[in-house]
Every structure is written in C-alpha cells, then in structure tokens.
C-alpha cells in the first residue's frame, strides 16, 4: 500500500506470510498481534510497540508510544495528489487552515499585493488567523464574503503573478 506522510509518499507491504514487512524498499523482521479493532501489538526488527489505529475515508490515524501520526491514504485512481501544488509559485489558491468563518477580507479584487501582505482573516475555534500572500501578484478572484462559513478545501481567493510580458 501507499501512504502519504506530511509531503512524502511511503510504500508499505507486509510479506504474504506476515513475517517480514517491506517499508520503502527496506525489509524488516515483522510480527504482530491484533488486540482489538483499534489496537495492535507490532514488532519491527525486535522492538514491540503498542499501536492504536483508526481511520476515515481519506486518513489513517495512528498512535505509537505517545506519538500520533496522520497518514493520507493514496488511492490508485491514476490521479496524483500532494505534489506540484507548492512548486507552482505563479498562482496561489488561498484556502483556510481549517473549517471556519470569514472575519474580514483585507484586499479587493484586482488589487496588487506584495509578499507578506495580509489577504483575509478567518476565525475558527475561538482563534483568528490572518492569511498572507507568499508571492507578489494580483488578486484575481475572491470567492467569499464576510461572515461566510467555509470548509477547509474552499478556495477563498486566488493570487496570480503578473506576467512578465505585460
């Protein structure tokens, strides 16, 4: 299987006999016991750990030894996610860090902005956060208005670099 942890994909494949596991092309000795639905005891290379796991459609949530990891499931549907987005610095799709409500829009459509300028203030869970632009450019789209509730994947506004030819 393939998992996305932070920005990196990882290949994980237990052997058919479940006595070894291949993680990113390294083979480890492997043993496990299933305690219940959410709880496993796992031995990798001689180290036993209690591991707790839960999942939803797109993620695995795993706790081992007091540390929690969030993995994104990678579905083999031919599409490739999680890459390329941050590499493209000519255009940014401004999204909120979490679902929340729009407190204030700090720019207008068509406005020129400079790296570090505040774009919009979002509030969620009693905390206001200001989103800044990381590029110099022009606000080409504003898709929300003050007071609106937004999901985490909503594109609030778009900032595009001015074309050099213009």
């Amino acid at each position: 299987m393939e998992l996305l942890f932070k920005t990196k994909k990882h290949q994980v494949q237990p052997a058919k006999d479940n006595k070894s596991i291949n993680i990113d092309d390294v083979l480890h000795n492997f043993e496990f016991r299933r305690i219940d639905k959410n709880h496993l005891k796992i031995n990798i290379s001689g180290v036993w750990q209690d591991v707790f796991i839960a999942e939803d459609k797109n993620h695995y949530y795993v706790n081992a030894e007091g540390t929690t990891y969030h993995f994104d499931k990678v579905h083999n549907d031919g599409n490739d996610y999680g890459e390329g987005q941050s590499a493209n610095e000519d255009i940014i799709n401004v999204k909120p860090p979490m679902p929340g409500s729009i407190v204030k829009i700090l720019v207008e459509q068509g406005q020129k902005v400079t790296e570090g300028d505040g774009l919009i203030i979002v509030e969620a869970m009693k905390m206001e956060t200001t989103i800044y632009t990381t590029i110099d450019g022009i606000v080409t789209e504003i898709n929300v208005s003050t007071g609106e509730q937004v999901d985490a994947d909503k594109v609030l506004m778009v900032v595009e670099k001015e074309k050099a030819s213009e």
Binding site: F32, I53, N58, Y61, F71
Partner: protein, 500 residues
C-alpha cells in the same frame, strides 16, 4: 440547597460541574447548541435542552435563551463554568433579576474587576503592588510618552477592556509611542467598543503565578495557595503546576495575603483567581482577577483536597466556607496538561473533526477531566479543549514522571493534540530544573522540536494491517479531496487568539 442547576457551558468543564452536582445529589440541566446534540455534557446531565444554533452568539452566549431554559425547566441556579457568559456582569445581573442564583460573585465586583483600569486604581489604593505605569488612562499622547521615559523601555500599551492580546502593543522606543497608542485605541474600539488604553512597564520573561481565592457572604476570605501557569503558547496556558518552584514559603505568605487583600478590596465573594506576574527579582505585581472557576482549578484540588466546584455551589447557596485559612495546607505536587485539539507541529493550529478512537490514561495519581469520547465530534465553533490530564505526586519529580507516563498512554485518534509536545516540555532540562517563564516555549523552541518519527515504522505497519482488514471496503473509493495541510502551501500565519 438548590433544586436543579443549569450548566451554561459545554465540554470538560460542563462535565466536571455535572459530576460535582451528582455527588451533591443536585439534578442538572445541560444546555446545548445544535452542533452539540451528542456532546458528552448532554449525555452526562440528567436533562438537556437545545438553546439554539451552533454559532455561540445564538446559543451559549444567548443570555435570554439560557435564562429561559432555566425558568422553563425548574432550575433555581445557573453555573456559568468558564468562558462564554461566565464573566459577563450583565448576564450575572439578568440571572439574578430573573429570580435565579448566579453561581459566582456579585455583578458589581465582576464589573469592577473586568476593567483593567478600574481594578488597577482600586488595587493601587488598597496598597496592592501593580506593574509600574500609568494609574489611569489618558487621551494625551504626551502622558504616555512621559510615563514611558520615566519607567524605561520596553513598555506595554494595553486596552482596559482587552483580553487575549488584542489591543496590546509592546513598544521599545519613544518615537513609536504615538503610533502604537493610536493603533491600540483603534483596535480596542473595534474589538471591545472602548478606546481606553493605558501604559505600563513591559516585564521580560516573568512567571505567571496565580492564587486561588474564595470569599463567602459571612465575611470569610481565604486563599488556597498558588498555581504556576508559565508554560504558554499564544498567551494561553497549556501546562500548570502547584506548588510553584519559584515561590518560597515566605513569598507564598506575602502573595497569599495580598491575594486576599485584592478580593476584600473588591468585595469579592465566591471562588476566584488573583493573577500576578513574578519577575526575576521575586517582585510580584497584580495582573487581574478571573471572576470564575479556572481551567486549571484541578491542580489546586489535588494538593488541598478541596473540591472547588462544590465550594462554589455551597457559597452561592449562602453557606459559609467550611474551613479556615490555617487549616489549609499544600500536600504533594500536581501538574495539569491541557489536551487541546491542535497541531503542535504547526504553530498549535486548532484541529476539528471526529474523534475516531480514544483511550484514557489511568492509574494511581492520574485524573482525566474529559469532555469527549470515542466517536465524538469536535465542532469548529468552540474552544478546542478536549480534556485535561492532571496528576498528583508526593513531590514534583514524582508528578513529572507520572505525567510523562500518562501522556504516553493517552491516545486520541482523529484530531491532532499537543500530547507529544507536552511530553517534550516535561522532559526538557529547564522544566526539570523548575526554570519556567511565560516565554518558555518560544525561548526553548529548538530544544522542544521533537522527533516525531521514532515509531513511524510501527505506525506504517499498523496502517498496512488495517488496510488488509478493510480491503473490501476500500476498492470503491473515489477521488479524494485534497485536504492535506493546505495551509502549508500558502505561507505563514499570524496567530491571534483568546487567552484563558
């Protein structure tokens, strides 16, 4: 005693209050917003009524809805918890006008202590040490400049009605005073409807030391010793302990007496907290009074044995405080870690969603005040506190080691928490040495970076095994939403938020 108490709050503190009422055999009525239909406090209370939509202003902050719920359901008292309406003197007044008991202080001291300038004047007159600075506000920029020059830079401009860092400016040189005062006034006007600001000395690396206090209607006033709450991120406490390593018995006595003087000077009854800053030379300065139960009240309960929520209820019912100052003592050491839904890897950004699984730490000396459960939703509308992990130990080191082990066995899956980060803080040598201050996390940020990949292989393996189990379910998955850390793609964030 009361016939039935309405709990005007949610999450762990509502559950905490309900448990106290159960032990006192007082029936409870929970109120909840539409987002909290399945919240833990709704499940725990004897009865529950919905008082409005998810947005706090329409439910938990809706004074009339709360009071009507109490009147319509046979309650004779309201416990406000912390946050929400708990420090709104208008609400306090309305509750009393409706013929109900407000479990807390009277409206007048609440109003007085809610104003930084007013309470500062009262305290100066009562001989309570305050941070050097202006006694009251002024519209005259030159008053600010003169005081700044007199007490020396850096100085702090502060909104009288402010809180949580809003309307606050640190100023390092004379020429910035004018613009900073004007900005603070504008900000305060927008946020609090008042442009009253003042100037005081800015203390660098102070400790946050607060005293638990209580007063009753029979003229008794006591303090229940200090709590040190210096470990903060975003001006918000995350780890508290008592006793403080910085407070000697002699200092404790002086500060405790001062705390009692503060509530006497303001005619304060019921349970409250007097906050001080303590500088490196062991000078302490009055900061403010929190006129309600505090998030971190359990550590005081652990070392004094006094149930503070029951004490609130008893005092509100007209009973006298059932102990004297000289009967109180501090027994052992207690530490609290706040389990927030937040991402310590990413500037403690709040995290919402569903708790798919949780496993609560147990064992000797471990207390877990929780507002959630496996399967609970963490709504986006409210403060992201999930639970509080509290430990007691014979001494600080026993408590510290106990807390580390309890954090390791505290499993919350589905939303992020600072669980691992707090372990790292507790293992930091400066913390071990008791060398704490309010900018502890910022100043040791490099040491506090934790290697979150120590168990990564085990975690990968668990996911692979989990997939095996679910294979039949996963084949039909359609294209997923791109919701992996979108804010990483945008840049950096300025964090502003409420402090408690």
């Amino acid at each position: 005693m009361f016939k039935k108490i309405l709990i005007a709050n949610r999450s762990e503190i509502a559950c905490r209050i309900i448990r106290a009422c159960k032990e006192m055999n007082i029936p409870t009525l929970a109120v909840y917003s539409e987002a909290d239909e399945f919240a833990q406090h709704v499940k725990l209370a004897d009865e529950a009524v919905c008082i409005g939509p998810a947005a706090p202003l329409q439910s938990y902050l809706n004074m009339d809805a709360v009071i009507n719920a109490a009147l319509e359901n046979g309650c004779d008292a309201i416990h406000p918890g912390y946050g929400f309406l708990s420090e709104k003197h208008e609400f306090n007044k309305k509750v009393r006008e409706a013929g109900l008991v407000f479990i807390g202080p009277k409206p007048e001291p609440m109003k007085l202590l809610g104003s930084k300038v007013e309470s500062r004047i009262t305290m100066i007159e009562a001989g309570v040490p305050v941070i050097p600075g202006m006694k009251t506000s002024s519209k005259n920029i030159s008053d600010f400049e003169e005081m700044a020059e007199k007490i020396g830079f850096p100085v702090l401009i502060k909104a009288s009605d402010g809180g949580g860092g809003k309307g606050m400016r640190v100023v390092h040189k004379l020429e910035d005073i004018k613009s900073s005062v004007e900005a603070a006034m504008r900000e305060s006007q927008t946020a609090f409807g008042s442009e009253v600001v003042f100037l005081e000395k800015y203390l660098e690396s102070p400790r946050h030391i607060e005293f638990q206090v209580a007063g009753d209607e029979h003229g008794n006033f006591v303090h229940l010793f200090e709590r040190e709450c210096s470990i903060q991120r975003r001006h918000q406490k995350i780890i508290e302990e008592t006793p403080s390593t910085a407070v000697s018995p002699e200092l404790r006595q002086r500060m405790g007496e001062t705390a009692v003087k503060v509530i006497q000077a303001s005619n304060y009854t019921n349970v409250g907290t007097v906050e001080f800053l303590l500088d490196k030379d062991n000078n302490f300065y009055f900061l403010e009074v929190n006129t309600r139960i505090q998030v971190e009240h359990p550590i005081t309960e652990m070392v004094t044995g006094i149930d503070l929520v029951k004490l609130q209820i008893r005092i509100a019912a007209g009973e006298a405080i059932p102990f004297k100052q000289e009967e109180l003592s501090q027994n052992g050491h207690s530490i609290e870690c706040r389990i927030y839904a937040e991402d310590a890897d990413n500037n403690f950004m709040p995290s919402s969603g569903k708790i798919h699984f949780m496993k609560e730490p147990v064992g000797p000396g471990v207390r877990y005040d929780s507002g959630v459960y496996s399967g609970a939703e963490v709504p986006i509308f409210y403060d992201p506190i999930l639970a509080k992990l509290i430990v007691w130990g014979k001494d600080r080191e026993e408590a510290r080691l106990r807390m580390i082990n309890a954090l390791k066995s505290n499993v919350v899956l589905g939303v992020k928490t600072s669980n691992k980060f707090m372990q790292t803080v507790l293992e930091n040598q400066h913390f071990i040495d008791g060398d704490t201050c309010t900018n502890f996390i910022d100043s040791h940020s490099d040491d506090l970076k934790f290697n979150s990949t120590a168990s990564l292989l085990h975690a990968f393996a668990a996911a692979a095994l989990s997939e095996d189990t679910n294979q039949t379910q996963t084949v039909n998955h359609v294209a997923r939403q791109l919701n992996s850390s979108p804010w990483l793609e945008i840049g950096y964030w300025e964090i502003a938020g409420g402090s408690r």
